[in-house]
């Protein structure tokens, strides 16, 4: 479903990364551990179709995504990849539900029934008509997960999803991510330096030396 081969990226001469090859089957889950500055976020951006690597190949669903041009890559990303960031990054002027239906709109889907299902699953169903500014931090993070799921992605990428959460909420979020990925049979890749996440995953890769 997802694989990368010989991928490297160079910001400048003193700051360059060579990434380990990765291969994931549909429905599999992978934790990528690494310290700050080890290139985790860079890798996640490359996997998410947000940053083209200097060398190497990124295949999602057998498609080399960086051979797709401009808008096609955008649509592919919207349709197949759900990205969750460390900060929620939700759109302030919109309501909870509109944040999700916007994702549907951008890839040309009709607003799906899936939206209310996902919101229910993540426990923010009763807030669907609320403005984003009225959400608590935990709810906002769950909304950003919900939005990543709105288009039924084949790959879910999460960048430090637990960094700003306490222990209880952190394990809740990890649990949610795992459940949702299993439910929709999607690849789940989490990059983090958060040791609390470690015990939840069997498959792990360590970047930039041992932790």
């Amino acid at each position: 479903m997802l694989s990368i081969k010989n991928v490297s990226f160079k910001y400048n001469n003193s700051n360059s990364f060579v990434f380990p090859d990765i291969s994931c089957q549909a429905g599999s889950q992978l934790l990528i551990l690494g310290e700050s500055g080890s290139g985790k976020t860079t890798l996640l951006n490359i996997l998410g179709g947000l940053l083209a690597p200097d060398k190497g190949e990124v295949l999602i669903d057998q498609i080399p995504i960086y051979s797709l041009s401009g808008a096609k890559l955008d649509k592919f990303r919207g349709n197949n990849i759900g990205i969750i960031f460390q900060k929620p990054h939700i759109l302030g002027p919109l309501t909870v539900e509109e944040n999700l239906s916007l994702a549907n709109f951008f890839v040309g889907k009709k607003q799906s029934d899936r939206i209310s299902q996902v919101l229910e699953d993540l426990g923010i169903g009763q807030k669907r008509r609320s403005l984003v500014s009225t959400l608590s931090e935990g709810e906002a993070q769950r909304l950003s997960i919900a939005r990543a799921l709105a288009n039924d992605p084949k790959v879910i990428l999460a960048d430090e999803p637990t960094a700003s959460l306490d222990d209880v909420n952190a394990s809740k979020v990890i649990q949610l991510l795992k459940e949702q990925a299993e439910k929709y049979h999607a690849v789940l890749i989490i990059v983090t330096h958060d040791q609390r996440v470690k015990d939840h995953f069997e498959n792990q890769t360590i970047m930039g030396g041992a932790l």
Partner: protein, 406 residues
């Protein structure tokens, strides 16, 4: 969810900013709308009122004043002319028709104009009630006069001396309303019409009640055994040659003055043109400032929104969609600005007409829509596109990864 709704949501997220930009644009466009409306209707009304009048003859003075007083009834007359002289002029072979006018009185600010039935014919009047005057002191009211003064056939009133409303009353003899005209949207709406004899007799010292019962003259000049005066003479040419010969003949060989309505009115618009240009310039400056305001607002909000735009890209928005998203904000702003501007312009004109019942602007209609107003809308939308072009281009170029990791 769609792009228009998305842009709208972002606009109303900043209500003060959005409101101010719309208001500024609306003000500029309202001025243009008012100018358009006044110019169009004023010119229309002016030419309608002067239809069928080729030349006006009156006492020497300003030709523009003569036209304004005798055709449009807004300025003071230049003086009176001897009736015998006017009579002999009307017999000139170049004159097809001539209608004498006698002025000098008013009732509550509405001018009382003495004339004959040809004048009613000239404007092709229809009577709402009653009929034309038959004997002295019978009057016919323009529709607006009757409405505003609440007068009807059979009512009596006393005229006052002078054109304005504050002079002494002629309390010796009442006027009697014999008819009310239908609404015409012409100058007649605001006039009180009567026979020339009525005007004479109100100003006479002695009272000869026998004369008051005699039928007045319906066409041409009234009979009189003493030297009489009229204020002016409206003339229709017999043929095109008259347009060349008659004004020159009158102006050089008699103590009278001749003025052509069409010539004087185009001269008037030339004079007013400077003022109109000035106001137009002001409106354009306001519109440019509002365009800049929209540009700055979009440009600044974009700095805060690069994050949001990057997030939209991660959930599948293409560069083109983000470009349109920003352009649409500019278009929505200017569309609303234009809409409010046009409405504001019409409201303003309605207010001016309402407060200016007897002036030159009365009889204008505030709720006539011109096709030029479509152009105002298009113009505003073009301003919107230009103002949002650079911000939209910035949105188009947003580097997602760099924005998200910042």
């Amino acid at each position: 969810m769609n792009l228009i709704k998305l842009s709208w949501k972002y606009l109303i997220d900043k209500p003060l900013n959005t409101g101010l930009n719309i208001l500024l644009l609306a003000l500029g466009l309202a001025i243009i709308t008012v100018l358009l409306l006044i110019q169009d209707q004023f010119e229309n009304k002016m030419s309608r009122d002067a239809e069928g009048i080729d030349l006006v003859v009156g006492a020497k003075g300003s030709p523009l004043q003569l036209i304004l007083s005798s055709v449009y009834h807004i300025d003071f007359p230049t003086g009176n002319i001897d009736m015998e002289e006017a009579k002999s002029l009307s017999k000139n072979r170049l004159v097809k028709n001539s209608i004498p006018l006698g002025m000098g009185d008013n009732y509550q600010g509405f001018r009382i104009v003495g004339t004959n039935h040809d004048y009613l014919e000239l404007y092709q009047v229809n009577f709402q009630t009653g009929q034309a005057w038959q004997i002295p002191f019978e009057v016919v009211l323009g529709n607006d006069v009757a409405e505003k003064l609440k007068l009807k056939v059979g009512d009596r009133f006393v005229g006052s001396h002078g054109i304005g409303s504050s002079s002494h009353d002629h309390d010796e003899h009442d006027y009697v309303v014999s008819g009310v005209l239908e609404k015409q949207n012409k100058v007649l709406d605001n006039l009180i019409l009567t026979s020339i004899e009525s005007v004479w007799y109100t100003h006479d010292e002695g009272h000869d009640h026998e004369k008051f019962e005699q039928q007045v003259v319906k066409s041409g000049f009234p009979e009189s055994d003493e030297p009489r005066e009229v204020t002016s003479l409206l003339i229709q040419y017999r043929n095109p040659i008259a347009a060349v010969q008659l004004p020159r003949f009158i102006n050089s060989r008699s103590s009278l003055q001749a003025a052509s309505p069409s010539f004087e009115i185009s001269r008037l618009f030339e004079l007013l043109g400077v003022g109109i240009k000035l106001v137009q310039g002001l409106a354009i400056v306001i519109i440019i400032i509002s365009g800049l305001g929209i540009f700055i607002a979009l440009f600044n909000s974009l700095k805060e929104r690069k994050y949001d735009l990057a997030v939209m890209r991660t959930i599948g928005a293409s560069k083109g969609q983000l470009f349109m998203h920003i352009i649409l904000e500019g278009l929505i702003l200017t569309f609303l600005g234009a809409l409010f501007g046009i409405i504001l312009g019409h409201l303003f004109l309605a207010f001016v007409v309402y407060t200016n019942e007897q002036g030159a602007l009365s009889g204008l209609s505030a709720w006539v829509f011109l096709k030029e107003e479509i152009w105002i809308l298009c113009f505003a939308l073009i301003v919107g596109i230009f103002a949002s072009l650079i911000p939209a281009w910035n949105a188009y170029r947003t580097d997602i990864a760099a924005q998200l990791t910042r």
